[in-house]
């Protein structure tokens, strides 16, 4: 980056908040080093930086906690990393309204601990909450097991403040829980991976903290039995907050197996009033009588088990080679896992699977193939194919560059791409926001 330009950037935020040279090593992305990383301390500074970038045609990569920065195609241009970590305040929390407004750079854990001190929580539980920022969670549509009952960002975000590509400040939605005035812009920024604007503030719906919260882990001999158990649970009166499924490999990789050689386990989260939770745990026991083992976890044990499950991508194997996130119909989950497992085995690789079973989202982790990328590439292609055949879709969430060069990160987007491209052109006409990383090369 030209030094005159760098001076301008320094002039906006102060030189102590601009990194260059070797200090940039944490911001290397797919082997590329940006020209600079800048950490604005206010929304106005973000605006000034984007206005400058847009004038000069500099590519900007918004950066929260970096936990999902690797998701996406290799960037077309990596020039200015825009770190949001200094915008880390909870701005408003009105418990009586069950809403809160916070800045985009606050970490999820920091936000939750402040909300918890007043008896409430934001019902989003993606992995790496100590590092993941609110803005990043929204921009990547990150979620966790409790999405089963409490939904995802699109069900919780009611208002958003974004710095647009030209530096102007744009608000979508509002601060009230019900609102149909104008287009629902917050939906557009969720999952947009920083390609439409920089999320600097968000207002979200909250929930009261539950009195009681337990995790029921039920292991079965075969994965198929887990699928059957999911159907039983969904057809019952139970109202679990999470319905996750682990295959045998994931169960053992995470150290959650009850000895023996279970083919999989169903993890049910129950939270709410004590009486409700107790009844549900009993009912789950009755319903799932055919299991090989069942445990009820509370407190620290529960939290660490959930943490392992959320972080399955990094924890199932010491040396994961790639991670695919698939979406299929809930009833297809176990079958797709079995097929994908067989593919891995044929290629001499190991695979572990964790699913939010009742919404059909599966994280598939691949390990092995250290000598050559070829088996990994071949297996990923086959996985993609079988997901497509099932009518689903898949994102390559994590893989070495050599693999990404051979296996597309996103599926072909279909005819709606035309509208997506037009939205991108309308909102970022110069194409400076995270160019090339998103669906269809956006």
């Amino acid at each position: 980056m030209q030094s005159a330009l760098l001076d301008q950037v320094r002039g906006i935020v102060g030189s102590e908040y601009v990194l260059t040279g070797v200090a940039l090593s944490p911001y290397v992305l797919e082997g590329r080093t940006p020209g600079a990383a800048v950490f604005p301390g206010s929304v106005e500074e973000v605006g000034a930086l984007l206005a400058l970038a847009s004038e000069e045609g500099i590519a900007v990569t918004p950066w929260g906690g970096g936990t999902k920065i690797a998701v996406g195609a290799p960037p077309k241009r990596l020039e200015l990393v825009l770190g949001l970590r200094r915008l880390n305040r909870l701005l408003e929390h009105e418990p009586g309204d069950l809403t809160a407004t916070a800045q985009g750079g606050i970490t999820l854990d920091a936000l939750e601990s402040q909300l918890a001190s007043r008896g409430q929580w934001l019902s989003l539980d993606p992995p790496f909450g100590e590092q993941a920022t609110l803005g990043g969670i929204l921009a990547t549509n990150a979620s966790g097991p409790r999405r089963h009952l409490y939904g995802t960002a699109r069900d919780l975000l009611i208002g958003v403040m974004v710095v647009a590509a030209d530096g102007s400040l744009v608000k979508g939605g509002g601060k009230v829980v019900k609102n149909v005035a104008g287009y629902d812009l917050p939906k557009l920024y969720i999952g947009s991976f920083g390609t439409l604007g920089v999320i600097v503030e968000a207002t979200l719906k909250l929930r009261p903290l539950p009195d009681d919260d337990r995790l029921v882990v039920t292991s079965f001999e075969r994965l198929k039995d887990c699928g059957q158990a999911v159907r039983l649970v969904l057809g019952s009166d139970l109202i679990p907050s999470a319905v996750d499924l682990l295959d045998g490999e994931a169960l053992r990789g995470l150290g959650l197996a009850d000895g023996g050689s279970a083919g999989g386990a169903l993890l049910l989260g129950f939270d709410g009033m004590r009486e409700q939770v107790e009844w549900q745990c009993e009912e789950a026991k009755r319903l799932l009588a055919g299991a090989v083992a069942q445990r009820v976890l509370e407190g620290g044990q529960r939290d660490s088990a959930w943490r392992l499950v959320r972080e399955v991508g990094r924890r199932a194997f010491p040396d994961p080679a790639a991670q695919l996130r698939l979406a299929v119909l809930p009833t297809q989950v176990t079958e797709v896992i079995e097929q994908a497992g067989a593919v891995a085995q044929r290629s001499g690789l190991r695979a572990a699977f964790a699913a939010h079973a009742a919404v059909g989202i599966v994280t598939a982790v691949l390990a092995g193939g250290r000598d050559s990328a070829q088996p990994v590439i071949a297996a990923l292609r086959e996985w993609r194919e079988l997901v497509r055949a099932a009518g689903g879709h898949a994102v390559l969430e994590r893989a070495p560059l050599a693999v990404k060069e051979q296996v597309a990160v996103w599926d072909p987007p279909g005819p709606a791409l035309r509208i997506m491209e037009r939205i991108k052109t309308q909102l970022d006409p110069k194409g400076i926001l995270n160019p090339g990383r998103f669906v269809g090369g956006i």
């Binding site: 309204d97 019900k178 149909v180 104008g182 557009l188 279909g414």
Partner: protein, 490 residues
Amino acid sequence: MATLTESRKQSLRRALEAIVGKSAVLSDREELMVYESDGLTLFRALADFVAFPTSTEQVSALVKLASQEGLPFVARGAGTGLSGGCLPSEGGLVIALSRMTRILEVDYDNHLAVVEPGLVNLHLSWAVGPRGFYYAPDPSSQQACTIGGNIANNSGGPHTLKYGVTTNHVLGLEVVLPDGEVVWLGAKTREPQGYDLTGIFVGSEGTFGIATKIVVRLLRKPQAVKTVLAVFDEINRASEAVSAIIARGLVPAALEMIDQVTIQAVEDAFGCGYPRDAAAALLIELDGLAAGMEAQAAGVVAACMEAGAREVRTAKDEAERQLLWKGRKSAFGSYGRVSPAYMVMDGVIPRTKLPYVLRRVNEIVAAHGLRVGNVFHAGDGNLHPNILYDPRRPGEEARVVQAGAEILKVCAEVGGSISGEHGIGLEKMDYMPFIFSPADLATMHRVKEAFNPRGLCNPGKIFPTKKSCVEVGPGYRPHPIEEKGLAQRF
């Protein structure tokens, strides 16, 4: 619109007939007049044609024709909208979806259904009810309004406090874009890739294209339901009770408020057993697991008593529950007994601001020499002040509109919104700047450009425009479904 010459009109009619058949096109003035308004009868606009397609292909062919001919077009569901959304504000073609009413697929295992847009909301819950399922968004007009219209307006209802509004229940859409191309946005599976076009389409008030298939989530009916009526001598105490319930960590399925004007109207008209001298009543419904239900109900009762309720009743059985709801549900019909006409407002506020805003609403309406009845979704802070008036008195309707604008201004000032469920349509275009900056509006406009670059699809809505040939008031009429007693207006 008077700008079509007779010969062009003839040739357009023939082209439309070639797509949908002779019996599915209207062009006579008398027939068109049925389609000149929606539930907000203050506005009227006459189409040149109304066509009734029966398939996606026909909708696509109609839209392609309109697009080639430069003819404005607008989708119409049941016409129960309350902001003038489906009016042909620049003339042209109304594409009426009332013949596309099929339930195409129900997948009970995956808790979803695929339906056509003209399907009446309640008919879906009826169809899946025997298997223990229902479709959660429940606008009070659900016996008449269509799922397509619900999508366009992102409609809500009493139970959206706990279960969310329409957008929270839509997974995917087949859409005819404004140039006639058919695309899928979203899917039956979660997390479709790319921008959330389903999310932005829902609530776009028919300006992004026409939904021709809709994938919705189905929910299982709750194991237990408990309904409570709390009666207050002061409206402020009722408002405080709303906050007190939330503060106890309880999330009711519904939390509705009914004020004195409304209670008296209801009692005069139907006699549902609400105390006539009460200043306000709260209707609170809990649902979910049977376990813990008694304790939750006790929590609600305690919160209301602590806030100063005079009396709290709990429905002992389904018959009593229905009776408690009857008062709430017949509120609209009862206004007709005490006033020649009324206009329903729709604004949202943070629920902690209820006491202040309700006082301001009463002051504003009184200052205009009018009366107001409030019956609304207190749990989500979604107000519905119903201003009572007489359209035959000169100038009164204009004062109602003025009072409405002032009320919305107050909603905006306390950090709220100018619409919680009825949409902007024609009614509130000029109020958008109450809550949105020019940059916010410009962004929305750019998104519209992406979907609807030529602006032929439902023109003249949401954003202020000069081109419109809409006629404004006077002329309140109850919507036909209200006259038949099928619905209430909130």
